[in-house]
Symmetry: D2
């Protein structure tokens, strides 16, 4: 037995111009290009050790192809596959190598229509630091120098169905949820975790199969200012920020990659545990939950209205 | 089934002057006193929701009475009890209420002689923030305003035996270890985790049953400066810091409570996962692993030589 | 002889509700109320030693009554008075006590119609720290805890005339200016200093006698986040931020006091010297000069369009 | 007329190995080498615009050759020359070019025996940022990336004589001083400024002609951690830090260049004005004035005992 789902393993994302995307993710975000196949680029952050955490795939539009979560052991994978089938999900096996550099796994659809996969093994690349006597950070970081991806936020026509699915079939825990009022329990939106971060995935209302954003972790608040400076130097389109989230307590800049996929640089937040009582946000205070400083209704509408 | 051990639940610590200890932990560290029994004080941090994370117990000397880790479910508790017995540990049941405000659990000794307990339930107190639409931090924090405890570091005559025990019987994972040289595997010291932090417990060479320190989490680097200022204003005896750790990448101040228990305020560090390859520190670079800035042999000797 | 104009001594500002203003400046900004007269409140920051740096005056509208700069010596005052007269300004003497707690000075109008005064002496109050063996910060700071005011920004129909006046008659130096293009010299806007900060006063195009904002200094970037949190908790209306300025390199939140006077919390920026070559911003890059992250034309228009 | 002494213009320092010094100041500190003559290197920080702020001079020992302060105008220079002569100083004229790239000036000795010079003009090099539409920081900073020098601290057998000299003959102002007790006025040590920083020069007891350290400015507290990391990576010998100063409120790391000259990276501190009342530190609290966290007598003795 193992620890179940460990983390968001990789996002597989459509981009409309692979070279522009490469420039952005490598030269601005500071990711390492670990491989290139015919129509796809594979990238990892400097503090990640698996082969990749982002796949960029040439397409005629932006958006999420699929997301894959890393599972601790094959015993866990089998257990989760059983749970998925018991929950009524249609699960297919993914063979070793069907995903470039990724081992055997399973594939299924969330109630929201998103494709999700689970896998156990990915080719090991190693961090950008030695395994023996490492310095606290590597030399030669480029641009933002994001150490790793952190989470993603998807949209669903009926968020609570996907929230239920993730919690019951995959043992995600809930840190925070938006509800109609203090006495409501049904989540209008929800933030879910498997790691001890406040969210590995979140679900908000919107079209099925939609991607609101995926996020990069930054180590501290000042790194957001550096990121903002780098974005401005490189003419990256900033959506919102620097802002504080009420939900998760995190701090953020939202911005768009050259294809129009929304990304986030995120830092802060508390340590989340499965026994932590769920924090509720009522719809009347939701603007503060999303942007704690500039809690303006029109911002929230623009922010939640644009997805890929 | 659940998630096994979630975190360091509480430390039970001897102090030689309960009132002086109260002043320190409440007025300097900013902990909340949640209860007082005849000879003991119960404390929690503002971001903790269980009844207490520290028990201060009147004694004629400093040191650790015991440490207790919180387990997710009773099914986990039973499983871990079995693993402990299979590993050859002598396990006794702790009845509900035997520990003030704590439910049923198990007690056993580490190979190093330390008493450890596991429990599932503790009376719920709640964070110092509301459960509905909370602000990112509470008003009226006192002194350092530490949000929570983070980890502890114990000493053992034969560290590798206790490391083995924690990993095999309790499913701790190792983030970093000190070894003789690059090719060595046997840990001279080790940093172990169950959460996604680089350590929930660490073991270094020293006397059996020894406590090197227990640590408070602070949210960011600047909070260390505030802590140092508060310590100076209150004549708290600082041991070392502000320093960077090579091991864990964390940043730190070590200091002593009024009874001579060493404490730490700690921030930073990476996210640790069970599949992360273990970082090795060779003894010739160990001083840098411990104090990355002032990596002086004499400091390390003084630092590792004093325990309670 | 002395050092001439030392700093922005105080701003005298109209507010439409003195009690609401008191709550804002004292309970949110953390200023100390040092006196109250019939229709006015006197405030200072914790790191200021003169009796006040802000006068809030009951009125039926917001805006600036006048600004007063502190001059080092009476010899300087006389010299500046002569320079003002030589420049053609109409200067009147202000008698000791005409301004509450302020000594003798001079009054004149800028070409933009703003009333400016110079004074040498103000009643001494002292910082919120002792003069002997002070701690680095005082206990009991409230809300944002702003240590001091920093600068103000005014609007003028013909900014370059006021810029000339300030530089020639009062020996202000220019750190940065907005110009039509690289080869232009005439300032469309200008940032001027007497201290070693990038600006003690700035002038942008707009109506004569207009106040764009006056600013509080904060000691570091993280303090802006704290300020934003405090503003949100107290329902202060945030205008823009957290943002980086290209001009001055500072970091900022703009917000409104309850009467609609725009204020800023500002940190960062370089050390400015009289021999520093003036930085130019061309109008085509001005949006980045003002808001380096979100350099949007519509933001700039909203931002520069609202004055009191 | 002008503003008198503007700042510490340059330090001229002896090093025992010019190539080792170059590597340290360029590759570790991130200074730009602007010229090299037979036995000397000329360096500037990225945010400095004059040709150099440090001269490194090959010698058989470490220490200070001289310090030079930049004066605003030749009228100021003449005025200060007169003041120096009135004070009884023996002043000699320095011809244009006698100091490489430096214009005409004056030279004299402090009562402590140190050679000091004043100059008005130095060849202009420009910051590492463009004069038009500059980004807030330049690309490609190396190592610590120190933007500029900040101050120096010298030792004197009779500090109060040199303090008097600097204040009366050169119009330095005092921000803080060490005194025997609360009622004492005679400075045992003193911190003096001409800019609005808490010190451009400080004088502590010790041998005449001694250099305790010269300091680099860093923009914020987190930059000290980066500096400490860089120092450790490059085996720079750290003396003390990260520490808080009680005096000036600054934060600091002290370290040695390869020749044994003590340097400091310094950040923080308040804005100082000529009319600010002098802060007093009594000798019984001096350890806290120097190292606010680790205020240990033996540290202070080691710290103040080593000079060049």
């Amino acid at each position: 037995m193992g620890e179940g789902i460990l983390r968001l393993g990789f996002v597989d994302v459509r981009v409309t111009d692979l070279e522009a995307a490469r420039k952005h993710y490598v030269e601005v975000m500071g990711m390492q290009e670990t491989a290139r196949t015919g129509d796809a680029l594979y990238l990892k952050g400097w503090d990640e050790y698996d082969h990749h955490s982002i796949v960029l795939r040439q397409s005629d539009r932006a958006g999420l192809v699929k997301m894959a979560f890393k599972v601790h052991t094959y015993e866990d994978l089998e257990r989760l596959e059983n749970q998925l089938r018991q929950y009524g999900a249609s699960v297919t096996r993914v063979s070793n190598g069907e995903n470039f550099k990724v081992g055997e796994g399973v594939r299924f659809k969330l109630p929201s229509g998103h494709t999700m996969e689970l896998f156990v093994d990915m080719e090991y690349k190693g961090k950008a630091l030695p395994q023996v006597n490492p310095a606290p950070w590597p030399e030669g970081l480029v641009g933002v120098g994001a150490p790793r991806i952190d989470h993603l936020l998807i949209t669903a026509d009926k968020p609570h169905e996907t929230v239920d699915f993730l919690m019951k079939a995959l043992n995600f825990y809930m840190s925070e949820k938006v509800v109609e009022n203090e006495r409501s329990e049904t989540p209008i939106s929800a933030w879910l975790f498997r790691s001890n971060t406040p969210h590995d995935i979140a679900i908000i209302p919107g079209k099925d199969e939609g991607l609101h954003h995926f996020a990069f972790w930054l180590d501290e608040f000042n790194d957001l200012r550096k990121a903002g400076d780098v974005f401005s130097k490189h003419d990256v389109s900033i959506d919102v920020g620097i802002e504080r989230h009420g939900i998760t307590r995190g701090q953020t800049i939202y911005y768009f990659d050259p294809s129009g996929n929304r990304n986030e640089v995120f830092t802060g937040g508390y340590i989340a545990y499965p026994d932590m009582p769920v924090v509720k946000w009522t719809v009347d205070q939701l603007t503060r939950g999303i942007f704690y400083f500039n809690h303006r209704q029109e911002w929230i509408e623009a922010f939640t209205g644009v997805t890929t």
